[in-house]
Subunit: 553 residues, 2 copies
């Protein structure tokens, strides 16, 4: 027997229909790439997105076609998302910070038909143009007056191109599992992999991420996604803000502390979201100028673990609530947010910061589990760590053009590649990447914990820990250190500093010094390169006799 409820497919155009109808006068404020602040509304966005869909249709774009963007967060970028989805086409955000050859590879793999590009990134496109196999036309996100001379053929300015259609267009009705968006992950190894969001997953994720313990957006909020739309589905904010009717404030190309502060202040932003690096720049700006954050209520911090000093500064110095979050491109992307449960909301001082160091609790719609290598589930005791796996309606089951569907375990969970522990209240904390964790004598050692400890030594500028082969213990940790300039620390001193702060069987077996550690385009340590470099490293036996046989915690 079926329910007798209305058939109302979960399509993304309903998000913008809702915003235009119920919150039509709410603002979308953007810093434009050309310079000035631009103001529009959900009502106008709705109109321009329909116009765009009609213009795309005239271009011959059809259901399922991919449209690439190389663009900052601006109103035009959001228009492209909704215009594409409104025709049944697919927005494909490409990360302009990748190496140009990666960008070309991704666009060819996705078979993107059009490319919408900001003025900033036109030089990249000129460089890779000869390699692009499927792009039919490049549309520059500006008006005719701002279009610079270019070597590219058939280039048009967005505003003139768009003006060739009117807004008399009804959204193409699609089944809710139809593809809506696409974003490639840039792993440290192998080719990038394409994640394909559906209308249903985008809408359900926006709903699940909108509850108060997650993003908790309200219509009276003014939301600034500093996190780029090209980073992990823009943390869903281009979808969840219209769902809530929140105003959007978009920073465009200016991501420095001064520019971010200026928008937070002048636009009275109440909630903002970005990676820790951005907040470090903002806090440095605030400290050097004495400026404050009188309007800001909440800041979402994710992408990598949020340093305690950032949390402390926001909460204690500026009275802004930090929402530590975790997710990934394959998760649409939000997996957890560190919201206070009953009994936690009144924590203060270090106990509050201890809680906020965790990545948080899962909302309805995200199932978490931790397992050992054999797939056996591990307890939620806040100590035992294992592979973090996830299941839910907005989590990937496969990658674009992948040959197999087998990224899921027998229960249908996706392996995040992270290693984590979860406490009895459900608070999850990432301890490592599973390919980086050191497997020693059947137990796991967190490379991140060791690195965080090592960088506390005054002479250590950067630290990386990798596992190197060991005849008896499978792997043992090797600490690789970049010393601060003008220092020459000794291995013994650094190990002595670490001694007593961790279980003795976690102590690195050796320390080596490098002038520089290799990084990826997005700034992560390339541990695969380090492992290759130290594959044949011979470990001394530094530890005291008997320590090797100490039972693991």
């Amino acid at each position: 027997m079926l329910g007798l409820m209305q058939d109302w497919p979960l399509t993304c155009t309903r998000l913008i229909d809702h915003a235009a109808r119920n919150h039509g006068a709410v603002e979308i404020v953007s810093r434009s790439v050309e310079g000035p602040i631009h103001r529009t509304t959900y009502r106008e966005l709705h109109e321009r997105a329909r116009q765009l869909a009609k213009r795309l249709q005239r271009q011959g774009i059809r259901l399922g076609d991919r449209l690439a963007t190389l663009a900052w967060n601006t109103w035009r970028h959001v228009e492209v998302w909704y215009g594409a989805m409104g025709l049944g086409a697919i927005y494909h955000t490409v990360n302009p910070r990748l190496f140009p050859e990666q960008i070309a590879w991704i666009m060819n793999h996705a078979e993107d038909r059009l490319l919408f590009v900001d003025l900033t990134f036109l030089p990249i496109v000129e460089k890779i143009w000869p390699r692009l196999q499927t792009i039919e036309q490049v549309i520059v996100l500006c008006d005719a007056a701002h279009l610079p001379p270019t070597t590219l053929p058939r280039v048009v300015p967005y505003e003139d191109w768009l003006a060739e259609a009117d807004a008399d267009f009804a959204w193409v009705e699609v089944e809710e599992n139809t593809a809506a968006g696409m974003c490639y992950t840039s792993g440290t190894t192998g080719d990038p992999k394409g994640v394909v969001y559906s209308h249903r997953s985008n809408v359900l994720h926006a709903l699940c991420a909108s509850v108060p313990d997650m993003l908790g957006l309200r219509s009276r909020d003014r939301v600034m996604p500093v996190v780029p739309l090209f980073h992990a589905n823009g943390w869903s904010l281009a979808l969840s803000a219209p769902l809530a009717g929140s105003a959007l404030v978009l920073p465009g190309p200016k991501m420095d502390g001064q520019s971010i502060w200026h928008l937070l202040d002048s636009e009275r932003v109440t909630l903002t979201a970005a990676v820790p690096t951005v907040w470090l720049m903002l806090l440095q700006h605030l400290q050097s100028t004495g400026a404050g954050l009188p309007w800001l209520e909440r800041v979402v911090i994710g992408g990598s673990a949020c340093p305690r000093a950032i949390t402390r500064a926001f909460e204690e110095d500026y009275d802004v609530r930090v929402m530590h979050a975790w997710g990934m491109t394959e998760m649409s992307p939000i997996g957890t947010v560190c919201a206070p449960k009953a009994g936690k909301a009144t924590l203060t001082g270090e106990a509050r910061l201890d809680l906020q160091a965790k990545q948080g609790i899962a909302p309805f719609g995200v199932e978490l589990k931790i397992t050992d290598d054999a797939g056996t589930e591990l307890p939620w005791d806040g100590r035992t760590f294992g592979r973090l796996k996830v299941r839910g309606p907005a989590i990937a089951r496969a990658y674009f053009k992948a040959e197999t569907d087998e990224v899921l375990d027998p229960e249908g969970f996706f392996d995040t590649g992270d290693v984590a522990h979860i406490d009895p209240d459900g608070y999850m904390q990432i301890t490592d990447r599973s390919k980086d964790v050191i497997k020693s004598g059947g137990e796991w050692i967190s490379s991140i914990d060791l690195e965080n400890l090592a960088v506390g030594h005054p002479d250590v500028a950067e630290a990386a820990v990798i596992g190197v082969p060991h005849p008896k213990w499978d792997e043992r940790p090797l600490l690789i250190v970049v010393p601060r300039s003008d220092t020459q620390p000794r291995a013994e001193d650094i190990l002595a500093y670490m001694q007593g702060k961790i279980a003795s069987w976690w102590m690195p077996d050796d320390v080596v010094f490098l002038d520089e550690i290799p990084h990826t385009a997005t700034g992560k340590i390339r541990k695969s390169a380090l492992r290759e470099m130290f594959r044949a490293h011979v470990l001394p036996d530094r530890r005291p006799p008997g320590a090797r046989d100490e039972p693991p915690r």
Copy 2:
């Protein structure tokens, strides 16, 4: 091209799975029908619901079977909901306040196979038993020690019956559009009509109603649904509280002001929900005892329009935020909540109360429109009122066993039977029921506005306004008054009191006095009976010459 996201059907068991896993130790506190306070947790609820599903399966209950409840809000009632849904069966809440013959009619129409009944309502079942055609067994929600002597055959106490199964049971996997729950509407005319919720509609409604501008439940909330589970799907709280991980406080059979206050206070409830009548009783208790509401943060008020005095008392005297809400059984049930948009949150005094008199704004997932009788959409200007129609994934498209599917208009909207206006910000206010609105000279007059005005006269105890046939104007308003005891108001005095407070063409053409006005079982005025009674009423011409031709506002 399809998205590459996981297949994760929206089934209601996932709500309780989520709560048990992530909020397992969170409490469900109930006042029991037997007397004492009972405490359990989401983890135990999850266990007992699986046990119940297994016990039902042993009883021969199958996918699609209906299970009736005549029960207060207790942990056992919630167990029955989840146990039934976990087997693919259907919880069917029956309102014990209906006339016994209606209860029997509804259970026969639904073809309920089992009946779960609280001790309180056993006498009703004994009375209607001979008429019940499909109930195979009556299960009394108590243990063996509390089971009273009864004339009913095959009666078992719930606890003993349940103990015949263990909890080793995996939820039956169902397609998300499978029926999950059922609730009959009790209109003022005609037979009750069965609304059939699906797993999908229940889950989506719980999500849409959970955003901060709607119920906004957080894991740290302690939520008391005073509104019964048998009233309009229990306002979804038995679904949305587990979704959020909020504690549940269930008042059982005691709905008086003293008992409600006692639970609010001793259980530190942060959010509660009920109809205005309940809050009137609570406020009277507070005023007579001098007690306060130190823990309560928010109160949801719906079911009928919330009197301004109640809003004022909660907000100004007890610092509790009032959330005026509107919905209906056919809407799962929440349609709107009066949340403050940007610029409204800072309203104070009468301006704030003016806003809160409105039923509020629609969340994503509820589409509103107002139309004239021909179905033409009317503007959102805050003045023009029309038939209120709704569309969404948790709104009925048909009734159980109805012969036609034609309750929807050509655009797929359901006619709520309410008349409303909507302002440019999207705030909706109910002005009447469409069958009660008076259609005069092509324009509509709100019977509710006239009644609210008339009861302001000191001699008026109760007032009803109906349209009576008129040769020139189709209908004209007739005011029916029940005078306060020991008063003998004159028609002229009451009309004089109303004069100047409304447009002159809204003025009732006549006033008649009755000792009593007929009501339904749920306390609503039976206007159909009044219309029948005054069908041939001859209206005098009281208004000043020329006023009849005054153009409508």
